[in-house]
Subunit: 106 residues, 4 copies
């Protein structure tokens, strides 16, 4: 992951784009890219979306997510593992197994 | 990253949630989490958002993005580096430097 | 508003699109269009976004929002006025005045 | 629609919130609410979402969409009818009938 972040920052700095990349606009960018990803599934069965396009839009989501993580010096591995632990408390196996209910409805 | 994906899948399988995790709903989930991340910046200066909450919502975005990548067996490092290369062609340094314009307006 | 909804439904039916317009995909469509609207503000000061493009993307948000309202036979005027009343309880004037805090932080 | 917009503005002004309601944050708010609407459909069949909750989240989408329209003094009826006309050119009936393809794939 270090390599990805370094490449993203190199790309950004070569274009002098850090001035635009405040955390709020990076969060906006994640939403914009997430919306483009979602569009690939619109009006379709899940299996009918185009994997090559999904690959590109998902890569964009990751790119801005990594850049936002870098802004706060978050370690992506650490914050995801921490969140999994926290979600484990919200969704204990015995209550959450086999149901898609939200934690406040379990 | 392998470890993150393995932990996410373990969490999912312990709860028998794979049945819900089709690609379309995973793309939905990314959008839902991206929206919760965005809410932390709403009506605020970028610097006034709460980093602890950002950490959690961003972790959720990553979690579903990794799960969607896993569905298609995408290598995250590979697809992001590939996209950086492609974006380099859309945004050549000499044209894109210092401007936030979209590629079709350069 | 009746006229707008009638025109939207006429447009949809002429194209035989009702088969695609289930409530879930309409909610997806609202998100996709909201993302396109958001993109017009990305990396920009609020005043630098292009009003002509905003007009079009906002119109798309309205279009799918009206179609989703129609699916459930919601009266848009009624549901918005009802929500204003409910929000008035969550955000009492004396507590909410001049602050952008969320109701659970007031 | 006039009445809705007047009530929304009254609600906003009583709380002195106009200072926060720049167009960019209103577009953010639309996305945040659209995400909350989308969450009601997550992991579910379209028919399993809760209409009472949909009513509330959809009302929030409408509320911020009307407030953004008001910022630019757009007439909602006019911009939607205009967009329907424009979409009619992108999706001519004979080509678009019965297919969910995007206009650039027709």
């Amino acid at each position: 992951m270090k390599e990805i972040i370094e490449e993203l920052i190199k790309f950004r700095n070569e274009r002098d784009w850090e001035q635009f990349h405040n955390p709020k606009d990076l969060a906006l960018a994640i939403n914009v890219e997430a919306g483009e990803l979602l569009e690939l599934f619109l009006w379709k069965d899940p299996s009918d979306a185009n994997p090559n396009k999904i690959k590109e839009e998902l890569a964009d989501v990751f790119a801005f997510a990594f850049l936002l993580a870098d802004k706060y010096k978050f370690d992506v591995r650490e914050i995801v593992l921490e969140k999994i632990k926290k979600n484990g408390e919200k969704y204990p196996i015995d209550k959450a197994k086999g149901t898609a209910k939200k934690y406040d409805e379990l």
